[in-house]
Symmetry: D2
Subunit: 382 residues, 4 copies
């Protein structure tokens, strides 16, 4: 697939993901970490306009001056007319106008991609990967927004992957002590945070072949896992008690049964399905209860080719920090990854909601330890 095709496929996929929404669903921002679908569609478009079209396409005229600051996620550079308003209060442009914006930028990107300009191609590849990242966020944000409706609306009746089961037999794979090479070393696209192929020394460990299931986690819950502080990190325990947490996100106890709000609506928990929507605190507490632990991101990557991964983003016990030799690129693109390297934990693998072809063994995803609206899960190590 050439770059232009890749561009179009990616752009279409974003819109496909939104095709089942009502106009109203595009608008809200129920919590700070969730963005309105409308904003995702516009922001990914702005990325192409801002970094490619305005800089590299001769005579390009921006679609709308206002969009430059409305859909910039990097507020640091915003000029005069900043407003305290939350994204969820910005009703204009309308959804339809955002789609027109997409059309306009797509048309000009088509021209830009025909120019023989390496920088355009490189930035376009970054833009495509950027949009793919937002596609996963689109899905998880849509789930969150629909989940705020007490009526449990269905996004898509045919989604089955939320209930997927492990395809491998349970058990542990032992890994030998020694020096391993870590970091991206391949052809194709990758992010700056994966760069700096380097050596790490690992000690013996055994890593689980399967991800933790709902049944296993319910055992933890029934053993008073959420009531016994001994399993929890100190800040995890504060989180549990302040929020009176009793179960993973989207689990509802209805008429004595645990139900799960999914993109296909409210469903009974399938005990054999792979657990999801737990945060780092819960993952760590579960591991502690099991008498095991989470892998480091290096332990994970070293054995990635032997693992069956891809249903859930897997929490690791590694903080998100730079690899040796990491330097952030000059300018706004440099804000992509480096500045987030604090107070976040690394997740490895990919999830059922990750865009096609977006995952790879060296990919470093990262979230704060209290966040659980992504499709993340638990792989144990002992």
């Amino acid at each position: 697939m050439n770059l232009l095709e890749h561009y179009h496929t990616t752009r279409q996929y974003s819109e496909e993901l939104c095709s089942l929404l009502q106009t109203e669903d595009y608008v809200p921002q129920p919590v700070a970490f969730v963005s309105p679908p409308k904003w995702h569609l516009a922001h990914t478009t702005w990325f192409f306009e801002q970094f490619i079209l305005t800089k590299h396409l001769p005579d390009y005229k921006v679609f709308d001056e206002d969009f430059c600051f409305l859909f910039n996620s990097y507020y640091n550079n915003v000029g005069d007319r900043t407003f305290r308003a939350e994204r969820g209060a910005i009703t204009r442009p309308t959804v339809q106008q955002v789609y027109e914006y997409r059309r306009y930028v797509d048309m000009h990107m088509e021209l830009a991609l025909q120019l023989k300009d390496d920088e355009i191609h490189e930035l376009a590849e970054l833009g495509i990967n950027h949009e793919q990242q937002h596609q996963e966020l689109l899905l998880t944000d849509i789930k969150y927004i629909l989940g705020c409706n007490p009526t449990f609306p269905v996004y898509n009746e045919d989604i089955e992957w939320e209930n997927q089961e492990n395809k491998t037999e349970a058990g542990f794979t032992p890994i030998n002590e020694g020096v391993y090479e870590i970091g991206f070393n391949d052809e194709g696209f990758s992010y700056d945070n994966e760069h700096g192929r380097h050596k790490v020394y690992l000690h013996n460990y055994e890593i689980a072949n399967t991800l933790v299931t709902n049944a296993e986690y319910m055992e933890f819950m029934e053993s008073n896992g959420y009531e016994d502080f001994n399993y929890w990190l100190d800040e995890g325990w504060v989180w549990v008690t302040e929020n009176q947490v009793k179960a993973p996100l989207y689990w509802h106890r209805i008429n004595g049964k645990w139900m799960h709000f999914t993109l296909s609506g409210l469903q009974e928990i399938n005990p054999d399905a792979i657990l999801t929507h737990i945060n780092f605190y819960e993952a760590a507490a579960f591991a502690e209860w099991k008498g095991m632990r989470l892998p480091t991101e290096f332990e994970w990557e070293a054995v990635a080719q032997k693992l069956n991964w891809g249903q859930r983003w897997e929490w690791t016990n590694s903080a998100y920090l730079p690899y040796p030799g990491f330097t952030k690129p000059e300018g706004a693109v440099g804000e992509y990854n480096g500045k987030f390297m604090i107070n976040q934990m690394v997740l490895r693998g990919k999830s059922c909601a990750t865009s096609p072809k977006h995952g790879r063994a060296t990919y470093r995803n990262f979230f704060h330890p209290d966040e659980r609206w992504q499709f993340n899960g638990i792989r144990l190590v002992k």
Copy 2:
């Protein structure tokens, strides 16, 4: 106009007010005191369904069970499935479904109003007045929501009443000391909080014939009115300093000029227009700076027939408290007024945004002293 006509006119007017909105504008709740237009349309409908149709129309089947708690503003009675979600995050039912809900309820109300049932008629009148109150909130909430858009969208180009000027000549009317009668004593609809016609003793005072204008208020601003704590109530001063207030709500200083965001978009301030969007703290500080004061609600009502009122809700220096003999009705309807009689100040008159025929001289409006998104203004007394 008979009751059925009154019902239809009122219902149509609510929808007319929304006819200029985009679907997206119906959704957000940018701050707690503003409700989504969608919610207003549904809640006023729910009021008729809940208090008339389900109780008094034989065989009535509710439109949707979920709406009963979704559009109940009295959370006290809500049952099991309460959610922490904010109104602005509830995307379903859609706007279109809400309009269907209105159709459905209107159709059944037509039947109900044909029954010769005094209680239905009484409740319908309450429901109509309730919807009229929400019409004014609809307008002020729409203004607030549109005002959260950094692009200053226009609601209706033809609205002129935001810039209306005083129609009376300036000056003061002197009133004599004595016993005056206060409270509703007429035919037609009124709220329970106006009842209890009673006597109050007033001392001599002089009341302004006109409302304070933008020019007068700008003089206050230019005399460092917002910087000198001596003019302010203690809690008002905290409000000014914590929020760094410098001007009325919706005023923006752009290129050295004061502009006002109106329902017709961003406009230059008209110095002769009547000031609006100031809260009680600002009204009281302005009066203090002038060496005058605000009227009490009794001083206002006693002289109402001599005043030209109706452009702005006029802040009084009376706290919202019960009249002698006030008792709240039994049941949910009793929650209408009485329970709000604390920490709010009374406003008298009506505003340019008040629904036709909704105002009267005994009407008691009330808001917290820090609220300023209503069309309120200042009349001085000395």
Copy 3:
């Protein structure tokens, strides 16, 4: 008693109140509305120094420049070196230094009071009354501070007035409709907020001869008074639910019994004692449950000479607002009362903790409706 004697008696009484404290008890400010005893002792002294000595005593040298802003409660006028620190974090000057400050100011006040200067005498009288007000706050703040100790320390074993019973027979006194005169009209000291003797028109009412007892209030509690929103003002209900209130302040349920933390330590509730430590919300909810109401401050004052008052500050249903003709004095003394006339409710009478000779029938005390650490109580009206 001449003014100098009055000065000395008052000053000594403040120190007497503190004589049972440990040094540590003088320091904390557990919540914003409570001040450290050390601060009360210094602030009342600063009042004399600031308003009398520095202005009217020739050649007076302030005790310590720093004290001028440390012990000024009117932060509005404070200069450069303001700090964000809370009062409870200010450990210096020490308690001993504060007592030295008092000695120093007392010595100079003695000189000042010998000058034949009417302004000094007037301000001294204000300062004495100011200190008397702080004496009651000292007691209630000391109770609050000691009450933060899980060990329930005893302030003074011999205090009996917390458990005082009604001395009058129960029943109601009927009052006739008519015009009554309200406001201070006597010799001696009074505050500006009582001035402006004026007429009010009252309608027929009957006022209780006794204050509500613990037994009556426990009946309310046992009738699920704290669980039924119908009795509560809307903001009162928010307060109850957010704070999970179940009983008056200082009541602890221990081994199945209601205990009351008093200045004499933890004691069993005496059912016949007069209820105290309830806020306006609780007073209003109790009255609603009884099918009665609270008096207005005018209904209270009109009948004051027939009532047995003085054990508890009695919540009225009047907001704290200016009397007709009220104007605040020029300068800092003008900040004494006027600027607090918003969002507070008036209490009438006096309490067992009020300083000797400080009460009078026209006295207007005021607190926010959620405050309950004062010795306040309930008198009903029907």
Copy 4:
């Protein structure tokens, strides 16, 4: 020095640190992360009582039942009578009673240490190290508490180490790539978080021989280091803007000069002194501005024997996480370290305020990235 001597020396040193305090200084808790000196003195004592005396000394009677929960920092195990009160509001026991508590426990510890009981000896060593840790906190908390006084009181005029300069010549030491051994491997006391001697692979780096000075940091400040978001981690930038930070903690701009509040009072900044009181965000931003970075804790430990360390705790770019094979001990002692391994960054070395003989090259100190009241500093790596 034998264990009993070590016990006594340590206990005396804590009291020596407090000998310059006024009783009032022992009480406040101005912010959540600072504890009252009184509490430190009692809590370290409680540690010996709780883990040694009540469990291992036959017939031991606790000094006071209440102290068991008052001075327990592990609230998780607290029983019935928990209070919402902040530590700074607990005035009883008095300072004198706390000293009596210390006497009582010391007397019994003397008996306990004479028993030939390995567990007692081991726990005593832990208790001594625990108290040494609190000694450093005592000093930094005392500085914080005194710093809340607008009068800048002097703790001890003779402290010179706050202004100490680098004793080594500037420059960088190059280190070779390879496998290094990390973790405690010595005789004597150490914490569980240092255990698990293990291998890490390090790549080439050069580490500074000296710590960053005030002069260097002032250059950063003058280059608009606090105004340019490009140098800052995202959460660091939020911290800077929300708190309007302009300089290190305790720096005050007075009459155009930067002054530093020290334990010896307010002093002019010495440009050659080693910088302190900056948090991780500031350390990272400074390094970014310099075009360098912070060392990892492994890079630091690998070269520790070649470095001159000990004036400041040195921020590393390592998150506080378990070493391979880390398991927390059973029971309450297990809460000592493990549960804090999230959202904190490691600091290495020791500071001028660290208790004598408490530091070692494998010691892992840890704080949140926004905390700056410790004596921490910056060593750069390139």
